[in-house]
Amino acid sequence: MFENLSGRLKEALGNITGKGRLTEANIKDTLRQVRLALLEADVALPVAKAFIERVRERAVGEQVAASLTPGQALIKIIHGELIALLGGDAVELDLKARPPVVILLAGLQGAGKTTTAAKLARRLQEKNKKRVMLVSVDVHRPAAILQLEKLAAEIGALHCASSADEEPVRIVERALAEVRQSHADVLIVDTAGRLHVDEDMMDEVVAVHGAARPHETLFVVDAMAGQDAVNAAREFDERLPLTGMVLTKADGDAKGGVALSVREVTGKPIRYLGVGEKTEALEVFHPDRMASRILGMGDVLSLVEEIEGKVDRDKADKLARKLRKGRSFDLADLRDQLEQMLSMGGLAAMLDKLPLPGGVNASALKSDAGEKQIRRQIGIINSMTPGERRHPKTINGSRKRRIAEGAGLPVQDVNRLLKQHLTMEKMMKKMSRGGMKKLLRGLPPGGVPPGLG
């Protein structure tokens, strides 16, 4: 399903026509696909609708940067809005309060609270050098307390014993006394799973929260959760309130759209990602990675990023300065450009990522533009002398034969490379600045420069 959507999305992107500006008309299709992608990723419908509205408002009338196609520009806006919604930068736990710092975990049944309690404890012990005590107030589920006790022993954390016939609030009071006595820095309180519609159980967790007076109250939510998770998150936030969230089971193949939903309704940051069952499987939450995952279009995005960012800025700037001074684009410059192509996985890899216009035979292009070709061309340039690279016009017949022999290729290949260089030199002259990205956009539509083949 999702492969399809991501494919449809690429197609819709390729279909955005009209250069220069994003308009209501040229983004309509893509936004529809994005909306479907969000819903298939389990973003709650009202959240998806509101999100698309925001993107539309931001996009319409937007001037497209010269380096991007309108489709790429739209994806950048969508991606940016997603990241903004997901919370910008990662927010770590607030541990600066006077010890003992109390952290309370709450959420639906089976979300991963107990496991997360142990993971957090381990992280705080190892990364923050804190002494951590764990306590369970789950007097409902069979062997829930024992589960936490075993995990505490495994990671070498302190454990405050409790039993199923105790009142949860009493357990908390006891644990607070114990944690002070043992001079531990942090107390993590694991609660029983509960449904947000279960009034008695919600009252119970409110009472536990009241007694524990936690500095951090984290809502633990399953990355595979569906549309209803917003209702649960809202209810927990209203009753407790929450200070953050942990998204568990993110090691699965769910798109995790629930992250967007719960973040939108609570406004609280997602702190961590659970990525496995073991106690070390906890990661800081990265909004940008999540954004790509939800949309399922990492490919398209990474291309935008690569074109914009990964191109070697220094070399590009140097080349631009050189060209501005009226000096010509020589064969050493061409070699730099080719090497950059290689570092981006070659044209073939780029073609995979580009939304190609219909009718273009991608596989035919690929065979011509492969990495091997680029490496050969670099080989040819490498067997030239520095002087020849700087002054290609000096390369006569005998020099060509010598170069071809050095590179182990027929002379025709050398000729083709020189012709290609000539074409590019002309192209470069037209541009006052910019490196690879301008060069790429200067390629004849649907093809590669002569000589690359």
Partner: protein, 336 residues
């Protein structure tokens, strides 16, 4: 307009959980399914001003289905079927629309309403519980044990989750509650060996039903999926028909990933039955429609609570009616 606000601005009305435990199943399920956000039925009138039904109505209905986790593609198929009726002018008013929707949903779910009837004539009937982490496998075993005991069968449990902390003790607690034997080994033991031993023990003791727990696993973890096929293989070597039931446990709160779970567990093992848990929340488990539509795996039970008796045999009409007609008195006009 307020379409978007419908769910975001949902008013609070959780005052209805105090249902009598003696209330009939249907009303109980209805109350539970509608405990918070009313679903389709009770809202139909709200978005059909003047009772006329048109494309907008269907679009709104589409939104409601998506919000119940039915998923985009299953929803489009359901709406397409309804549209055909609309074009034929069969759906003149709200009641006709409701009847049309009810029938469309029943057409999908009735074929998968196939209760589990253990046959112990070839030795112990083995139920192998599988599913992702935290779905409710172990708890469902406790409920199944209660159910089968009440039917006069003898039951044994096998502690096949040798990985998660205190998973064995959790199952043993259910064994004690139901007073049935639990076969377990030390943590880290080979689950296939544990379950095989349990099978031998069950056979020796003439047990009717063996309920085998397994550790939760995500369907994209190939190594862990292989572990399950190994259990199946080892059992089949002893008794070719075992395990007779491979039961996939799905959490009603899951979104679209549940479909991928059903597909991948089915590909690996050949799932013979599904139990949907946690339907006592406000999640509707709509992905069940997509799974039934796509895979047609029988749905056996639904879980509606954490206690041993909080499980019911799946019944398509009751499920659909609970979704469609579950208007509870105090929901009337609760939002606008």
């Amino acid at each position: 307009m307020c379409r978007c606000r419908w769910i975001l601005a949902l008013p609070d009305d959780r005052k209805q959980s105090g249902q009598s435990p003696r209330a009939g199943f249907l009303s109980r399920l209805r109350a539970k399914l509608n405990a918070k956000a009313g679903w389709l039925g009770q809202d139909l009138r709200d978005f059909v001003p003047g009772g006329r039904i048109d494309e907008d109505t269907l679009e709104e209905l589409e939104a409601r289905l998506v919000m119940a986790d039915v998923g985009v593609s299953a929803t489009s198929r359901i709406i397409a079927a309804l549209e055909k009726r609309l074009v034929r002018r069969e759906l003149g008013d709200v009641d006709a629309l409701r009847a049309g929707l009810r029938q469309t949903l029943l057409d999908i779910l009735e074929p998968v309403e196939r209760p589990l009837v253990p046959d112990s004539s070839q030795g112990p009937f083995v139920v192998l519980m599988v599913g992702v982490n935290g779905a409710g496998k172990t708890t469902t075993i406790g409920k199944l044990a209660r159910r089968f005991l009440s039917e006069g069968r003898t039951v044994m449990l096998a502690a096949g989750d040798t990985f998660r902390a205190a998973a064995v003790e959790q199952l043993q607690a259910w064994g004690e509650r139901n007073r049935v034997p639990v076969i377990a080994q030390q943590p880290g033991a080979d689950p296939a060996a544990v379950i095989f031993d349990a099978y031998e023990a069950a056979r020796a003791r003439g047990i009717d039903v063996l309920l085998a727990d397994t550790a939760g696993r995500l369907q994209n973890q190939q190594g862990l999926m292989d572990e399950l096929t190994k259990i199946k293989r080892v059992l089949a070597r002893k008794e070719p028909t075992a395990p007779q039931e491979i039961m996939l446990v799905l959490d009603a709160g899951l979104g679209q990933n549940a479909l991928s779970q059903a597909e991948k567990f089915n590909d690996a093992l050949g799932v013979t039955g599904i139990t949907v848990t946690k339907l006592d929340g406000s999640a509707k488990g709509g992905i069940l429609l997509a799974i039934a539509d796509r895979l047609a795996i029988p749905v056996r039970f639904i879980g509606i609570g954490e206690a041993a008796e909080d499980m019911q045999t799946f019944c398509a009409t009751e499920y659909v009616d609970a979704l469609l007609d579950g208007r509870t008195a105090n929901r009337e006009g609760a939002h606008s």
